[in-house]
Structure formats: structure tokens, C-alpha cells
């Protein structure tokens, strides 16, 4: 080929490359923009469909399972389940009293649906309700849903919510379901019937897809939804997004907008996303408030409190020679209530509130919104003089100590508790040393699940219980979940009295009696604290202001899309 021909070929090559490059860039600039799911024809897959806008919700993670029999409390699985499944009764936006949902009435003794001894609850089931798989709801589905959770009894799930109280379930007829408890429980409707494991699933769908195998998860239910809720799951791209569409055959008030959940973990991306309108709702974090408060298009709601007290646990069950090498405390370090009182008095609560950007308040043992809460309930304030005196009285002031506190590294809210405790104690006495050991979530869970626990203390938030019975049983009862593991009986001055009061309050159906009993419990546990109850966290909700009818009840734990609409 001659040089002229080669030159011509090279020019054509360059020209082609330039044209391709310009085309690509032009495509990028004109074919992009935000995926707001508007009814723009081009973003509807080119199919020319118009419809309601897609509401986009950002989550920082995603469900491990969509099976109500397997979902862990307070996790993303819970969040998804309450959008697509329903319960016999629900907590409405104005809560906390239960309202009818798949049952047509809330059982009470007044309407005769609760037996006189408080043990038997009868639920009239709503007729004309369809599952996502097209089958109809009957009482048999309700019994099946609850029985499968009990039979599967998966350790990672919340089966104990049902197994701890339910004695028997019975189908009376197609639209009547009966439950018998093994003891009276004033908290049964709010905390059991309206809990994730009590979500109603389609019996036909489960039996057609693996059925019920004791001790074994059901793979179909992990990734599919067969509920009765206003949303149905359309697609799930793991670690990326989930799409929920409106359920056409929903029995009640339909939801307004389909929803897409986007999994985004990077803070900068989340903030840009809500500012740009890519996200309509984001998972609230305290640090977002300050960074978004100047944007008039973003609404920040801080009116309520979460039901998840932030706390530090004292370990009274320390194994000999199993603490970190740097720790100098003996196994019975926290047996003396004066030591625990001193820790509570040394803690700088104001510094912690500052660390949370003002998004927290002094914690009482029962958070606001829960039965038994009172502003006048006893709570600790920092009192360094009294803390010092107690440390002197117990002999630790001169001897000093070093201990390690375990916390999840990815939770700045929790880490701050450890750092504030460290600063508080080390400033009080240089002989005191606190090591804040930050580990990943899985390492924390593994250590947390080990008995005996091999650290002096850990930091976490409480589970979102809707009734004080569960909170008291779990966190304060000497024979409860943490009482046993952390060895509360080694430290309580009157374990039996505390146990008796908590048990009695749990069984009573008289609201005033329960409040009186919880008040007495709080006086006792204040003198004999097993925790530093650092703060009640404010419930922060962040959303684009164009979202209409935004409402949130802390008893929900998560937002409920069905109430919101996006123009």
C-alpha cells in the first residue's frame, strides 16, 4: 500500500475513532440523568407505560431473609417483612393500642373475644383477603403460619416470641382462629400477635415449596414473599436493590407508589442521593442531621424516641483468666453494686449527648412511649464526687484497674459510649484505664454469643420491644436472657424480689397495676444497676419534603410505605 493510501487510511481511522468517542460521550450526557422512576416514557423500559412515581428508599444493608420464621429482630428482614406481610392486629400511626388488621376485631374481655381467665384469645378472620399467590386467607393459614414458626424453631429467628407464651392454636372454623396461652399476658396482642414471627403466610405456597422441616430454613421463603400486604416483591438483586410493586388485589386501602429499595452504604453517596432526589427516604443516621438541615427540600423529623436504649452491660460472669491480657480486674469486679453505681455516676452523659449531635436524651429504664415510662423515674446524672467516694469505699481508687469494653466498630453511636466512659473514668483517676475494643459486626456477634462472655463489658442498643415486659425480662430479670448470661444473681442484692415483680407485672392485664409494679422495679434496679443506660436515642426520620402523609410511630421500628405518597 502506498504512503498516500496509508495516510488516507490513517485519517479514516482517526476520524472513525473521534466519531465513536463523541457518540459515546454524547450518549452519556443525553441518556443519563437520575432514575427517579417518573412516568417519563423512556424510563419505563421504552414501553410507553405511565403510572405512579416510584418511591426510592435507601437502606444501608439488606435482608438476610424474607421469611418471618427466620428474620432477626430489628434487621432489614424485619423492615421488608412489615411492608409485605400482615398480622392479625396492627399498631396504627396513632398507636400504641392495637387496631384490627387481618382480624376484624381486636380481642378484649369486653367484647368477649378474650376469656375471663385471660388465657384464650379468639380472632375473627377477615373474609375476602387474597395472598400474593392468589389464594384466599382462611383461619387455617393463620394457624399454619404460627405453627410453622414454632415447629421450625430456627435459632436465628424469633420463634421464642411465640413458643414462650403460646400453649395451643386452633382453627374453630374457616374464619375463626383461637389461641390459648400458658399464662395471662397483657402484652400478648402488642408484642406477640403484632410481631414478625406472627406474620401470616400462604399455607399453599409454603407447602408447595419445601414445606416445614423442623430446624431447617426454607429457601423459597428466604427469597420470596407470599403475604397479604399492599406490596409484593417484584425483584431482588442482592446487595443492590429490591423492587416492590403495588398488589392489585389488596383487600384494604391500596398504597400509592411502588417502591424501590437501593442499598447504599457510602455516606457521601447517600447524602448526594437524598439531595439530588435520587432517594426519597434514607436510613437515618444522627450525623446526617447536621449535614442536611440546611436543605429546604429535605425534611427531618425528630419528634419521638426510639425504643432501643443505648447501653453498656456489666459482666458479672467473667471467666477466670479469659479476659484480654491487659485487663487487671478480678472475676467478681462488678459484684459490688457500689462499683456499678460508681461507673454510672462517673459517666459524662452530657458529653455523650453532644457526641450524638443532640439527638439523644437522658434515659430512664423504660423509654418514652412504653407503658410504665415516667419522666420522674430514677436515672443517673454524672456526679464525680460521689463516684470517687464509691471507688474509695470499695478500695479501687488507689489500686486502679484496667478493663476492656467490646463494641462494634461500624456503629459510631455505640463506639461513642465506650469513648465517653474511657474519658470519664481516666479523667477521674489516672489509675483507671478503659480499652475500647472495636471489632466487626460478625466478630462482635461471635463474642456476644459466647458464654461466658470474655470481656468486662459490651456496648449495644436494646431491641425495640413494644411492651415493658420483654424489656424488663430480657435486660433486668435475674433469670432472663442477659440475667443468666451476665450473672445478675451474682450481683443483685435481692434477685428474687426483682424477679417476682417483673413476673407479676408481665402477667397482669391491669394497666395501672403494671405501671405500679414497674415503678417499684425501677427503684430497685436503679440502686443495683446492671447497665449504664446511656441515652434514649431520638427517632430521626429523613425524607424528601415532597413525600406526603409522612407519619411514623416508634412502635413500628421502621417506616411504613403504605401510608406515604409521592406525587
Amino acid at each position: 500500500m502506498g504512503s498516500a493510501a496509508r495516510g488516507t487510511r490513517n485519517h479514516w481511522t482517526w476520524a472513525t475513532a473521534v466519531v465513536v468517542g463523541v457518540t459515546l460521550v454524547a450518549s452519556a450526557c443525553t441518556g443519563g440523568g437520575r432514575d427517579t422512576g417518573s412516568d417519563d416514557e423512556e424510563t419505563q423500559g421504552g414501553q410507553g407505560q405511565s403510572g405512579p412515581s416510584v418511591m426510592v428508599s435507601q437502606w444501608g444493608g439488606e435482608p438476610e431473609t424474607l421469611d418471618p420464621a427466620r428474620a432477626e429482630a430489628g434487621n432489614y428482614g424485619d423492615n421488608a417483612i412489615i411492608q409485605v406481610y400482615e398480622f392479625l392486629v396492627d399498631i396504627g400511626p396513632d398507636g400504641p393500642e392495637p387496631v384490627p388488621m387481618l382480624a376484624t376485631d381486636v380481642p378484649t374481655q369486653e367484647n368477649g373475644l378474650v376469656s375471663e381467665d385471660g388465657l384464650t384469645y379468639t380472632f375473627p378472620i377477615r373474609e375476602g383477603v387474597t395472598f400474593h399467590d392468589g389464594t384466599d386467607l382462611t383461619a387455617e393459614d393463620v394457624e399454619f403460619s404460627w405453627d410453622r414458626v414454632i415447629e421450625m424453631d430456627l435459632p436465628e429467628g424469633q420463634a421464642s416470641t411465640l413458643t414462650d407464651i403460646i400453649s395451643d392454636t386452633r382453627v374453630v372454623d374457616d374464619y375463626t382462629f383461637e389461641v390459648t396461652l400458658d399464662r395471662p399476658a397483657g402484652w400478648f396482642l402488642s408484642s406477640v400477635v403484632n410481631s414478625t414471627p406472627a406474620a401470616i403466610v400462604s399455607m399453599d405456597a409454603v407447602e408447595a415449596n419445601g414445606g416445614v422441616v423442623p430446624g431447617e430454613p426454607n429457601e423459597f421463603m428466604d427469597t420470596n414473599v407470599v403475604g397479604t400486604g399492599p406490596y409484593e416483591l417484584v425483584s431482588w438483586d442482592r446487595n443492590e436493590q429490591m423492587e416492590f410493586d403495588l398488589f392489585e388485589d389488596y383487600w384494604g386501602e391500596p398504597a400509592s407508589n411502588p417502591v424501590r429499595v437501593e442499598v447504599a452504604t457510602e455516606t457521601g453517596t447517600v447524602l448526594l442521593g437524598i439531595r439530588s432526589g435520587e432517594f426519597d427516604l434514607i436510613e437515618p443516621q444522627p450525623q446526617y442531621v447536621q449535614r442536611l438541615s440546611d436543605d429546604s427540600e429535605i425534611c427531618i423529623d425528630q419528634s419521638d424516641f426510639l425504643l432501643e436504649p443505648l447501653h453498656l452491660a456489666f459482666n458479672l460472669n467473667i471467666p477466670e483468666d479469659r479476659l484480654p491480657d491487659s485487663d487487671t480486674i478480678p472475676a467478681d469486679f462488678f459484684f459490688d453494686p457500689r462499683v456499678r453505681q460508681a461507673f454510672n455516676l462517673a459517666f459524662d452523659y452530657d458529653a455523650y449527648f453532644d457526641a450524638l449531635g443532640g439527638l439523644a436524651a437522658k434515659a430512664t429504664y423504660l423509654p418514652p412511649g412504653l407503658l410504665g415510662w415516667s419522666e420522674d423515674a430514677p436515672k443517673y446524672e454524672q456526679d464525680l464526687a460521689q463516684a470517687e467516694q464509691l471507688f474509695r469505699d470499695t478500695g479501687w481508687w488507689d489500686e486502679g484497674f484496667t478493663l476492656s469494653v467490646l463494641v462494634e466498630s461500624g456503629s459510631p453511636t455505640f463506639v461513642a459510649i465506650g469513648l465517653v466512659l474511657k474519658d470519664s473514668l481516666e479523667a477521674l483517676n489516672p489509675n483507671f484505664r478503659v480499652n475500647v475494643v472495636q471489632v466487626s459486626e460478625t466478630q462482635f456477634d461471635r463474642a456476644h454469643g459466647t458464654t461466658p462472655f470474655e470481656y468486662a463489658a459490651w456496648i449495644k442498643n436494646g431491641d425495640p420491644f413494644r411492651d415493658p415486659h420483654f424489656l424488663m425480662s430480657t435486660y433486668f430479670h435475674p433469670d432472663g436472657e442477659w440475667g443468666e448470661r451476665l450473672g445478675f444473681r451474682n450481683g443483685y442484692q435481692d434477685s428474687d424480689r426483682i424477679a417476682e415483680l417483673i413476673d407479676e407485672a408481665g402477667e397482669s392485664t391491669d394497666v395501672e397495676e403494671r405501671e405500679r409494679l414497674y415503678g417499684e422495679v425501677m427503684e430497685l434496679i436503679h440502686e443495683d444497676p446492671m447497665w449504664i443506660w446511656a441515652a434514649d436515642e431520638r427517632n430521626v426520620q429523613i425524607y424528601r419534603c415532597e413525600i406526603e402523609n409522612f407519619v411514623f410511630n416508634p412502635a413500628w421500628t421502621f417506616v411504613r410505605w403504605r401510608f406515604y405518597s409521592k406525587p
Binding site: L24, C29, G31, E240, E266, T269, E441, E481
Partner: protein, 337 residues
């Protein structure tokens, strides 16, 4: 040795290398403790934890766990991803193709712009083009990738909303079939211009960020190589023979300057894999980088081990290609010596 023979010899050694890698990966992953953490939660009793351990075979001795894992790998079972709650083998290809597409696009930027800028600057030593290329090289090498990413997002995503985040508009993505897993290619195969535009619009920003540092490095190395080659005698000879300057540059100088540059290209590709984690996190790109970040933070050892094995295979193959390319460009290099 002929390239085919050389490639075969290297490929035969690959399984032994991978076995060594697998043993190392497994051992190191267990240094961090049992992988059971991803399957349990803090509320489980010790008995429940033991039940979960038995379910996943984590109560067996370590050597049995390794053999079970290795046996699974050889049969295509890469374990169960706690992060994705699905078999790793099901999730990995999808994530890999997403990352591959981004990397290839970024790599194209690295090669085309890097070699192009380096060539142009090297042929115009100490003139304006050369000075500009040096500025680009320094900026590219020193710019923190996360900062660059956010600056571009603020400008092109927030202020001038012309670039989206993520990989696609879900409605458009779901409207076409995906035989290859590469969105751009699949769009073309489906003859869907809308999908193609969607793919490109999502690719552009993250690819620019991912490839920028590599492009700057290649430009710098190429420029230096070009300058060195211009001092060689054969250049004077070619000019003396009346060969046009453009031909001297393209057919002689650039070809020889590519020899050292190719080595750097291989390294740049490896570094890009590292940078992909940050880019994927920031741009919400659903690739292995983001998946791995999640797996590391959550202690999902099955995912981590599978990824490291796959990454080792990719790295070994890429270096094999680089070695063969090296021999092709420089006829003096003999493969196998």
C-alpha cells in the same frame, strides 16, 4: 519457544499455583476466627450457635473444613455467601461481569488516552503539549480517588444532573435479555439503543475515575520511553532515509516505546482492581469490589476466599497475556527463557 507452547506450559502450572493460593487463603482467613459470625446474631444462646455451626460444617476440624471447601470448589461450589445469602457461585459471575465491564471501559481509557497522550507529548518534548501531559501525570498520580469521585459526582450528578449513579435504570435494564452480562454488549445484541445509552451514561463517570490514575501513569511512562527512543540511532537513520516524521513516530519509535509501557500496563490493571472497591462503593456499582467490601466488613469468609481465588486466576492470566504481548512487541525477547 512459540507463544502457544509457552502459554500451554504456563497454564499447566496454573493448578499447582492455585492450590498453593487456596491453602494460603484458607489459612489466613481462619486466623481471623471461625466464619460462623456471619450466620449468627448476638441473641443466640450457645446451644443455638452450636446448631448453626453444625449446619454449616464449622464444628469439624480445620483440615476437614479445608478439604470440604476445596472439594466444593473443584465441583463448582464456592460456598455460601452470608452477605448475599446465596451460593457464591450464583452471585460471583454476575458481580464479576459488572466489574469486568467497568474495568474494561476504564482500561480502554487508560490505554487509549494514556498511550495517546504519552505518544503525543513524547514527540513534542519540552513543548506545550509535553508540559500539559506532565501536569496531567502528576495530578493523576496524586489525586485521591475518593475525592475525585465525589467532585465529579457533585458536578455531574448533583449540580448538572447529567450523570446517574448505579449501573442502570432498572426498568430499562430489565427490558432486555443479558446473554453476556455486559450491559453495553447485551444492549447492542438486543439492538436496543435506549439500553445502550443507559449503559454508557452509567459507565462514564466511574470509568473515568477508575482509569484516571492508570492513564496518568501510562502517559508518563510512555512519554519517557518515547523521549528515550528518539535518541536512538535508528531514528536518525530513518529520518536520513527520508521517512516521514509521522511514520517514524508510529512505526518505529512508538512501537519500541510500548515495550516497557506494556509491563506497566499489566501492573496498572492490577492496581485498577484495587481501586475498583472505592469506585464501586461510591458510584453504587454492583461489582465484586463493593461485594468484597461488604464481605470483609461482615466477615463473610466464603465470599472472600472465592474472590481471592478468582482474582488470582485473573491476575495470572493477565500476566501471561502481558508476557506474550511483550515478546510480540520486542522480537528479541524469547519466551520461556
Amino acid at each position: 519457544m512459540a507463544p502457544v507452547d509457552y502459554a500451554l506450559r504456563r497454564l499447566i502450572k496454573l493448578p499447582l499455583l492455585l492450590l498453593a493460593v487456596s491453602l494460603l487463603v484458607f489459612s489466613l482467613s481462619r486466623v481471623g476466627g471461625s466464619p460462623i459470625g456471619i450466620y449468627i446474631n448476638h441473641e443466640m444462646t450457645p446451644a443455638e450457635v452450636a446448631e448453626v455451626a453444625e449446619r454449616y460444617g464449622l464444628d469439624e476440624p480445620l483440615h476437614r473444613q479445608y478439604l470440604a471447601w476445596l472439594g466444593g470448589v473443584l465441583q463448582g461450589d464456592l460456598g455460601w455467601s452470608g452477605v448475599s445469602v446465596a451460593p457464591v457461585a450464583d452471585v460471583l459471575p454476575q458481580k464479576l461481569m459488572a466489574s469486568l465491564e467497568l474495568s474494561l471501559f476504564a482500561f480502554a481509557i487508560v490505554i487509549v488516552l494514556g498511550v495517546g497522550i504519552g505518544t503525543y507529548a513524547g514527540a513534542r518534548q519540552n513543548r506545550l503539549a509535553d508540559h500539559i501531559s506532565r501536569v496531567i501525570s502528576i495530578v493523576g498520580s496524586s489525586l485521591p480517588i475518593f475525592w475525585f469521585a465525589f467532585v465529579l459526582l457533585i458536578v455531574f450528578y448533583l449540580i448538572l444532573p447529567i450523570a446517574p449513579i448505579g449501573r442502570s435504570d432498572p426498568d430499562i435494564y430489565n427490558s432486555i435479555s443479558h446473554p453476556t452480562g455486559l450491559y453495553t454488549v447485551d444492549a447492542l445484541l438486543n439492538l436496543n439503543l435506549l439500553a445502550f445509552r443507559d449503559a454508557i451514561s452509567h459507565l462514564l463517570l466511574p470509568a473515568v475515575v477508575l482509569g484516571f490514575e492508570g492513564m496518568a501513569t501510562i502517559a508518563r511512562v510512555m512519554r519517557s520511553s518515547m523521549v528515550d527512543e528518539f535518541h536512538e540511532d535508528y531514528v536518525d537513520m530513518a529520518r536520513a532515509k527520508g521517512v516521514p516524521e509521522a511514520a517514524v513516530v508510529k512505526r518505529h519509535v512508538r512501537r519500541n516505546a510500548l515495550v516497557p509501557t506494556v509491563t506497566v500496563i499489566g501492573v496498572a490493571f492490577g492496581l485498577m482492581l484495587q481501586g475498583s472497591v472505592i469506585v464501586e462503593l461510591i458510584f453504587q456499582w454492583p461489582g465484586v469490589g463493593r461485594w468484597m467490601a461488604d464481605a470483609v466488613l461482615r466477615g463473610d469468609q466464603a465470599t472472600m476466599m472465592a474472590f481471592i481465588l478468582v482474582a488470582a486466576v485473573i491476575f495470572l492470566l493477565v500476566n501471561l497475556i502481558v508476557d506474550i504481548a511483550y515478546a510480540y512487541l520486542d522480537r528479541r525477547v524469547e519466551l520461556g527463557t
